[in-house]
Symmetry: C2
Subunit: 306 residues, 2 copies
Amino acid sequence: MTVSARAFWLLRGRLGRVSALGRSAVSLLAAPGTAGRAFRGFRSSGLRHDAIIISGTEMAKQIQKEIQGGVESWISLGNGRPHLSIILVGDNPASHTYVRKKIKAAAAVDHVDERTVCNGIAPEKDVDGFHIINIGRLCLDQHSLIPATASAVWEIIKRTGIETFGKNVVVAGRSKNAGMPIAMLLHTDGEHERPGGDATVTIAHRYTPKEQLKIHTLLADVIVVAAGIPKLITSDMVKEGAAVIDVGINYVHDPMTGKTKLVGDVDFEAVKKKASFITPVPGGVGPMTVAMLLKNTLLAAKKIIY
Amino acid sequence: MTVSARAFWLLRGRLGRVSALGRSAVSLLAAPGTAGRAFRGFRSSGLRHDAIIISGTEMAKQIQKEIQGGVESWISLGNGRPHLSIILVGDNPASHTYVRKKIKAAAAVDHVDERTVCNGIAPEKDVDGFHIINIGRLCLDQHSLIPATASAVWEIIKRTGIETFGKNVVVAGRSKNAGMPIAMLLHTDGEHERPGGDATVTIAHRYTPKEQLKIHTLLADVIVVAAGIPKLITSDMVKEGAAVIDVGINYVHDPMTGKTKLVGDVDFEAVKKKASFITPVPGGVGPMTVAMLLKNTLLAAKKIIY
């Protein structure tokens, strides 16, 4: 497993200082989609064709509430508090940002303990879902700890009510922690142990010629882009009414302000005029990824998967 | 792991009664593509546009020769003979056929011992590549025992010289022992530990609407079909000059003869007039799958992967 410039997560046994709420933790956490239309976001303007902007920040808050409820009922049954430890390998600024966000999110419910690098993580504690056993289970449609970014994209799609069954999806990017598991979740059988999206999925990547990418994205009902290339997806590449999920995290120089700013892989302002749904960067997939990491932490602490 | 109606393979320690040939086994087996143009098959008629029919039977013979050489040099170094044992679960006629073929192929080089059902196989002996560790490694682009059907498709493409880099590939079928691993091999990075095909891959399946499948296949430079549906791919769905790899194994009633005959998923007679390369059924992917199973057996015996 490649470990450079990536954050690993170790469970230690506690997450959340909470009081009893009953036994609803499992069902709350096991039922993506229950929040339903609550997360359909808001229209960004009065223009009829503008996309609904999905607020990952708001959706993440809801999920954190659900997790808090789950922690409370877990503790109330006499169990130890879930505890998240972080091992940061390498010196990638994006990793630091991600870790800071995770700490901030976890700090809202409990203390977080930072750790030194380790070479291996037990699969049942691998809340990032990068362990070979978790990847194997994911790819065989079995329950597993799913990489948080992939899980975030799945939750955004399902909670927003975006259809995937029999639809065309393009996943741009084939990384093992984002593009690949996202493609796996979306193309697989909705009736399997870990239900998939039953979509026809096209996996594109750095060697997909740009004009071919456009042909594929124009066919797509859902575009998920996790390529790390600002403005990779422009409005001429998007079918009217498509849903666009932007996983990109790019720091670019803003000539207007002279400062560095965070952007995704989508030309947001132009694409939102054509899409039906769109996630912003920041405030879209990012906060949802942190929320799904916490959800994995609770799943691991409760030994639901293993 | 689903075990019904499928053949499992256990290694016992021997395969091939052979004499010394030197230390060339690893390089021989590790170099798909070295046979190069030798496997470009033959033109089926004088028509200019007819596809080159790839003979899986002939390619498999060559691979078995390579394996035999590998076994010889392995034994000459004082190692035990690779040995393949079969556990057949369920009573699917297709499984029996597959097992009979495997036995026949292995019998050409050594004795084969049949076994009773078992619940688990050590990943290093899992020459079918169905173990979660092998699937996990495959999906992370690491060396692994690759499911023989996927490996067969890969070898056919590479040894025939069919290009995949930056090309559009449709994989019709998402099964865990064929479609999924084929899609994984073809879309992944050519520079990783286990090199992939760097193709843009579309995974289609039972819930892909037929008219959408046609849109995708008409874009495809390579079509791999592993759906189990006779004549799923018709000539109007194939781009002029595409390569068509038929993984289907279907037994259909032939009204002309009143007998049952074996066909693939492709309307072979019509599609061969449009494709550049095509594999027949029988005599295409089938014999190559058996050859790749034997290759896995040797890889496992030599402990090259684990």
